[in-house]
Symmetry: C2
Subunit: 315 residues, 2 copies
């Protein structure tokens, strides 16, 4: 899948298009802030699809930066955000949500007028809250969330195909330049994703149920097993194939990333936990009182949702 090379030809007399480059790749220079699973995957697919002319990258540790260079996910490594974003047409923040405010403050003075700032975070209202006030006028903020990932972390966990066939949700604040939004959409389509645009608060509600609650529950159940007497715990590991191992896979996701997601989508997550707790109490009572018909009815309904997901090609 190649990006359309005609995308950036300006109309005669038009204002310069956000994101600069007028010929060649979609973005002449891209800065990746954070080079973990997502940042390194994005760098690789941008290379493969020629979506970026030059990719600069920064990460907290020298080891991560070196690894990303070796893997070809970036062309140049910088040891801080201000150096990394200099002259960039597109800046992609691929760091835990808790680091956003500091990154924004640090990089703001180095941002080129007309640059687009985007991110890959799993919560979107707080992104706008933390990033927007720090960005200089003339810089475009287009928050994004690729709904893709694995339980592995770090640059070596990345791969160019991670986003293929998956959704990427953009949540531009009201009044965002439409051309900036379209350029970020083109980036994700070029990476193989389907693009959707959504209001940030609505995004956070949808993710609370489809992603944040499942992770919270997986962390809980694996934690419950961790607290068992040692003998029973050894057997839990041995016989994990009965269903438990699927939860351990989810509960192996990056701890800092998930800490920040829960802290930054607090209200929506707590609302969903409340609903879940009520529903669990209903099942618990049905088991206690031996209400077989009720159990069978619930279990039959849930089977249908699986079919819908298979039909939607997201299984």
């Amino acid at each position: 899948m190649m990006a359309d090379p005609t995308h950036s030809k300006p109309e005669p007399g038009a204002k310069p298009e956000p994101g600069a480059a007028t010929t060649g790749p979609l973005f002449a220079r891209v800065a990746l802030i954070g080079l973990g699973l997502i940042g390194s995957s994005l760098g690789r697919v941008m290379k493969r699809e020629s979506l970026a002319g030059v990719i600069a990258g920064t990460a907290r540790t020298e080891a991560t930066r070196q690894k990303a260079l070796e893997l070809g996910a970036i062309d140049h490594a910088f040891d801080d955000a201000p150096g990394c974003v200099a002259d960039a047409d597109l800046v992609v923040i691929c760091a835990p949500l808790g680091a956003y405010a500091d990154i924004a403050t640090a990089m703001a003075p180095g941002l080129k007028p007309g640059a687009i700032v985007t991110d890959v975070g799993s919560v979107k209202q707080m992104v706008i809250r933390d990033l927007a006030p720090a960005l200089p006028d003339g810089v475009h903020l287009v928050p994004a969330h690729p709904v893709a990932g694995t339980e592995h972390s770090g640059p070596e966990a990345g791969f160019a195909e991670l986003f293929e066939g998956r959704w990427c949700i953009l949540t531009p604040p009201p009044g965002t330049d439409a051309r900036a939004v379209e350029k970020v959409a083109q980036l994700w389509r070029g990476a193989g994703s389907l693009v959707d645009i959504m209001e940030a608060g609505h995004h956070d509600k949808v993710m609370a149920i489809t992603s944040h609650l499942p992770h919270l529950i997986a962390y809980t159940i694996v934690g419950t097993a961790t607290d068992l007497e040692r003998q029973l715990q050894a057997e839990v590991i041995k016989f994990a194939a009965g269903g438990f191992r699927d939860f351990t896979r989810i509960a192996a996701s990056d701890p800092v990333m998930w800490r920040d997601i829960f802290l930054n989508n607090r209200e929506a997550v707590l609302e969903m936990v409340g609903r879940l707790t009520e529903d669990l109490a209903v099942l618990q009572r049905a088991i206690r009182w031996g209400e077989g018909e009720k159990l069978e009815e619930i279990f039959t309904r849930t089977r249908e949702i699986r079919r819908s997901i298979i039909d939607a090609g997201q299984a």
Copy 2:
């Protein structure tokens, strides 16, 4: 993997070995009661590994029996259990737990002296409670539980490799003939499984946490999503890749089988639900009060369990 052909040579003067056959396959004649995912997989692997001379099978519906015949999972189809078990050296009950008592009563008069009766159910204490009293003297009861499966049901979902590298737990009641236990163990080793022997009550406790609780939680969370407003529900399906889809896979498992598991392992499951609810409350509170360190610590611990499962080869 071939079964050891020397297994059934009787010592001079020894009592006839349980399960009859003295030369050739491990069991001369096997009866499968129930031909769903497990029954049909077992039939196929017994064929492939020449573990059975002749396989008779029965299922509730004519369609299932015909399908199992077509797939080569059985040699002969019977429309009732008494006909199916006639002259069988091994009877394997592969039906939902709720049907066990009726099956035992129906087949008891047709069982050959010395026959071994086993099963594949996910709860073991109730198996002994429901089956043992109905079986005639001289018939050996060796309950078994292959810890393997998929979310699919029916004979066409079965495959000969289902049990490979997975555990099969035997829970023979005290005093069970050791040779009968060994023959059932040989059957499962022949199917590619690792065999473990455990007290039935302990088995039920281990499975409550490794299998029954994960399924209950998956059913709950998918049920919670099913109750959302229609618009939100459509988006849950669309964006299921964020974690939710793993739960829908588990929650697509056979409703009747799982109804019976929860009804028959009530105490152990409710005990685990209680522990989980407490642990969930702790996480909920940490999110509400913004206790980032506590969240990160819990999420780091759960990551370690995943590593243990990978190390144990059960991932």
